[in-house]
Symmetry: D2
Subunit: 404 residues, 4 copies
Amino acid sequence: MNGLPSSMRAPLDPELLRRRYGQVRRRSLALAEPLSDEDCTVQSMPDASPVKWHLAHTSWFFETFILERFEAGFRPFHPAFRVLFNSYYNGIGAKHPRAQRGLVTRPGMAAVRAYRLDVDARMLRLLDSRAGDAALAELVTLGLEHEQQHQELILADVKHLLAQNPLYPAYADTPPAPATAVPALSWQGFGGGIAGIGYAGDGFCFDNELPRHQQYVAPFALASRLVTNGEYLAFVDAGGYRDAALWLSEGWDQVCAGTLGHPLYWLRDQHGGWREFTLHGDHALDPALPVTHVSLYEADAYARWAGARLPTEAEWEVAAASGAGGLLQMAGHCWQWTSSSYAPYPGYAQQAGALGEYNGKFMINQYVLRGSSCATPEGHARASYRNFFPAGARWQFSGIRLAR
Amino acid sequence: MNGLPSSMRAPLDPELLRRRYGQVRRRSLALAEPLSDEDCTVQSMPDASPVKWHLAHTSWFFETFILERFEAGFRPFHPAFRVLFNSYYNGIGAKHPRAQRGLVTRPGMAAVRAYRLDVDARMLRLLDSRAGDAALAELVTLGLEHEQQHQELILADVKHLLAQNPLYPAYADTPPAPATAVPALSWQGFGGGIAGIGYAGDGFCFDNELPRHQQYVAPFALASRLVTNGEYLAFVDAGGYRDAALWLSEGWDQVCAGTLGHPLYWLRDQHGGWREFTLHGDHALDPALPVTHVSLYEADAYARWAGARLPTEAEWEVAAASGAGGLLQMAGHCWQWTSSSYAPYPGYAQQAGALGEYNGKFMINQYVLRGSSCATPEGHARASYRNFFPAGARWQFSGIRLAR
Amino acid sequence: MNGLPSSMRAPLDPELLRRRYGQVRRRSLALAEPLSDEDCTVQSMPDASPVKWHLAHTSWFFETFILERFEAGFRPFHPAFRVLFNSYYNGIGAKHPRAQRGLVTRPGMAAVRAYRLDVDARMLRLLDSRAGDAALAELVTLGLEHEQQHQELILADVKHLLAQNPLYPAYADTPPAPATAVPALSWQGFGGGIAGIGYAGDGFCFDNELPRHQQYVAPFALASRLVTNGEYLAFVDAGGYRDAALWLSEGWDQVCAGTLGHPLYWLRDQHGGWREFTLHGDHALDPALPVTHVSLYEADAYARWAGARLPTEAEWEVAAASGAGGLLQMAGHCWQWTSSSYAPYPGYAQQAGALGEYNGKFMINQYVLRGSSCATPEGHARASYRNFFPAGARWQFSGIRLAR
Amino acid sequence: MNGLPSSMRAPLDPELLRRRYGQVRRRSLALAEPLSDEDCTVQSMPDASPVKWHLAHTSWFFETFILERFEAGFRPFHPAFRVLFNSYYNGIGAKHPRAQRGLVTRPGMAAVRAYRLDVDARMLRLLDSRAGDAALAELVTLGLEHEQQHQELILADVKHLLAQNPLYPAYADTPPAPATAVPALSWQGFGGGIAGIGYAGDGFCFDNELPRHQQYVAPFALASRLVTNGEYLAFVDAGGYRDAALWLSEGWDQVCAGTLGHPLYWLRDQHGGWREFTLHGDHALDPALPVTHVSLYEADAYARWAGARLPTEAEWEVAAASGAGGLLQMAGHCWQWTSSSYAPYPGYAQQAGALGEYNGKFMINQYVLRGSSCATPEGHARASYRNFFPAGARWQFSGIRLAR
């Protein structure tokens, strides 16, 4: 581990790493392809960031944590970028305030593209000159996984931005994929006992998935698939948002304040029906698709209404690791809220230095989501992966899997 | 259990219950004895309540959940009190907004005293006429435990109110007890394994202590006593509030905003030294006393600085239940922050009806404190008792016990 | 003038001054008579103050500006009161934050009553020993006029406090006086020309009424009486609060935000009719009484709807000074919003020292009200009197007189 | 007047109007020339608007108030633009919320340029086909004057946006013009008497400059030039921001809150000296230039410190109309705060319809500035011109001229 926030026991083939570097970095730019420079500049809320910022910050990560350490005669692309594109690493020094990321119109997209090209050229030279350096390979892998996390954020943040536009423009011109038929929901049972929790492989994982440790899990059952829009609509129509008894107190406060009444991107049409804003523009709500963009409060209220509950993250991991064939939509559709607060595993050790800020300092007032979403890059997540957001966050692709 | 949020398997002797009713109810009034009617009326912040409100609400609890159900020909003392003194029970109907409790100057303290007398007379008649009624006895016991919780809140809330007064008036005229010598801090080790967690006796407990269940606990050690003011002062003097690496992100935000820089009631004297506001007025900071009125952020930062961590609530309970002789100050000094978020135990079932709102709906974004404090009524807490507050709360008597 | 914020050219008879001192000071206590100590302690919003604070601050005024200067061997009643009961005089030193006046439960009402007794005894001794001292007499007169201003505030602030109580308690047990018949509204015309504006007599006035100066006033007409509740109700029923064209932009923002929809103390009854909370409790809205507790936004919108406008303060003063017999309700009912912003008269000179803060520093973003209200002490106001509040203030007894 | 918010008695030559239309419209685009599309998209605060919005809204004005009324077979360029680019005209229907103007990334700058081209082509056709139509000419003139107002706002808003960028980018690459020597400040005296105030010519003016009317003005003197940076710096260095006695109460509150301590764009350099951010980037503070970007609070405090006061708007207009030769910098440098609140002139009549919202509804809690600034288009302002902003506004080019 070498004090790194990642685990990668087997050495990575240098050529593979080089190729993977190119693939991941190109995909970030590809995500910005359908967007104008103006789209890439604006910040729609403090929780979201401009696409331009994501593109720059992920390059800053390589420049700051790798080039500065390994490159001979290192000179920053632009001294001001060290501050402008630092997200939250106090150990690196000053950082530009998060809520003001959208006010920086210069450097513009052209300059950020140049920044990426420059970092890429230097990174590839470095990978050539130090092929086989394990410490470098670990850091590069971390940088790529980090960039993949931002790729998902790019899609969530762009969706939020476009949703603020009264014209509801589409990110992608293609129509959304038609939903296939919804299989009946069944319950997959699991016996209790002591389970190993946390990453057990020899590839990459984040530090928050470690150390692998034992937990006692009581017998439980997991729903075979995610809750659909149609099922959630039945909850809405049954007055789910009007019955205090279903809600956690904080969620009910939001309902009473009028800020919570349906999933984030649901829209009323003129006839009282529902539409949904998607990356493909707004469309009639598809009852067969998994409900998404719900808060933990909504997920919890729905589960209570349905006579069920949300899984703990240990239950989810036990089920996922079991390879139980009957479990559908565990990955690639929506992140799945668990009832577990985001906390360090027993024996968790934060590494020294700025990279130690990657995960540990956020382990408060956040809840774990498991699985992955339609916006998660291929191959990024795994059964032990821990995503986390505050209970009220809705702009991520978050959905509901029931347990009991 | 009868669907009640309490567990009390052994029948309670009717005469004992009657006597206990009188004792608990009298103690609430005794706590208000040193206060003027004006002191009892004012609300110092939305989180705190006026003493008058506490005195009325605890009576409302008996009137609403017991008299209304059991008393023949029930008529409320005053119809408006049903709304005025409802804390948060949506199932009961409307409630007066929490932040406006201090604006209700009428009914005044005289009327609230009359309310208490009336409820007490009716309750005692009821206890006489239905001696031996187990359902009644359970509810009365819950009402008394509930009142004891408010007795602790009365002291915390009054302390906060008086602290807003630039004259720093004392609640009690007596000087604070001199601290005894501080024993050296040692570490008490505990082996790992599957442990039974949750209430196991046959007396009263709250629903959140149930059901008793199994958890796997890894080996750990607990500090033999609480962190002292003197130790915490060393952390302050060493720049603990200036080192971002020690802090959870949310805590550091508060430090940067200038709202977190020392325990809540510490005051600078004119010579740069420290005083502390207490229920006995303000005094020179006593380095031998346990540090108190700290947030979870501060407790966590201190622990990190000290090369330790906070215990989980399971660890704390295992240690407390072990009766380990070397553990001092487990009860009666300060509530002890744990790193565990407040969540339902596996199999937790909220009862039907309004009393189901007692605990369950608050199980979000709160953290568990264990033990009890100098403000906790004698006999109220136990090893399985779960107190809970948001991570930033500081006006409770909350302190720090280290683990590792 | 001696640099005082008042004008009093004729010497005041010492015996008269002594008697007047007693009368004014007693009346303040009489206003608190129907109130409990609890009523006197609470602050219902930052703009309002506790009655106790008013009683203490008016005494502080005499102690600070008179006793401290004239009394041999002056010693303050309580050193902390200098800060606690300073309203806004930066020249005097620190002041307790306005929004926290309601948090100071000690000193209680008993102590404040003792403070008043002490100040009164010392003031009367001083008046005896320096009978005929013109500088003293001027300051005492200012202190008494100041106290009368606070007497009106006491009633406005108590009304606001009691209105927050869902039981709508009455300040006074007596029923409100029945309204007499409403005379038809007529228009009293005034020719234009250069007019003398400002105080012209030889009694007391505030510095903001000086210097008397010339203004050119165009011909205008003033309504013979105030707008009634019945007339204002017609505006409400006609959709006055739904027609943007009637409103100043800031007022319309409040309407859209849902915070402005009827006069402050109007209440809907269960049948869709209107009641009004008054110092006598809540009663059916009396259509014959002048509408009161309206903001300048509402007064202006009503005037526009009625095809009229609000008078300027110069017009109002010209009319009042003319003694025009046809003008009813110029004093003693409601303060009358004018369209004039509160600004210094040409040549206005603020006096040196802390008393210079009495008026001048508030001459920004406030609008002038003329006349006097049912809450104004007998003999306090006059034709040149300038009251002033922000355009949105509604808790004062403010009404509408039309002009054109 | 025809109910128009403008006065233009003499018919305008059609060819002149056509030429003027082209000039004004081209200048708006020229102002955007140094900016990237990204610069034009972002909104730096709710009070400011994106440049793109200004460019679209000024076209919307022509489309909505002229084309829709006069063009045969009118069809809007884009139906959604009616809402998107409506600033505040409730009479026109819905409007996009002001604070969210920066979230609309689509339409982008290319689409807005196309919108301008389309409106221009249609307007020019209309001007050809209805040459000599007086009603049309008046409206077109109003539209051009309106666009010129937005041209000044474009510069103020861009300056504010670029000032949020930690790199302090320059709007214009050229260096700022060197200040010429500062002439000694002298006082120009004016005798009192009845003066005619308001527009008296036969060209265009805004409705708020009408009707011309009489006011009595007492004798006064005006400073011969604006207050310089150097003079204001002396005020700062003398502790002007630390002396409560100099400040209006609202201004002092801002000082105490730490949000007011120097003119908006002054920056401390590393050696304790001052720099200033300008449209040419940041430069050492030039002591010879007029101080600018100050609030009315600061202007008033400076005047008090200097033993002077601010002029009333009537005084300013009397002086400007007098053509007094000794008065420098009356136009083209900074708008000059007056002590006059923005109020309707006696007899002011708002026109019917949506254009009536142009001025009247803002006549509350704003103060008048006279003159014009370096950002005001050539020929736009005049002696009777009334600019207005809230007392705390600082992002306009606002400065100080003393009176006494």
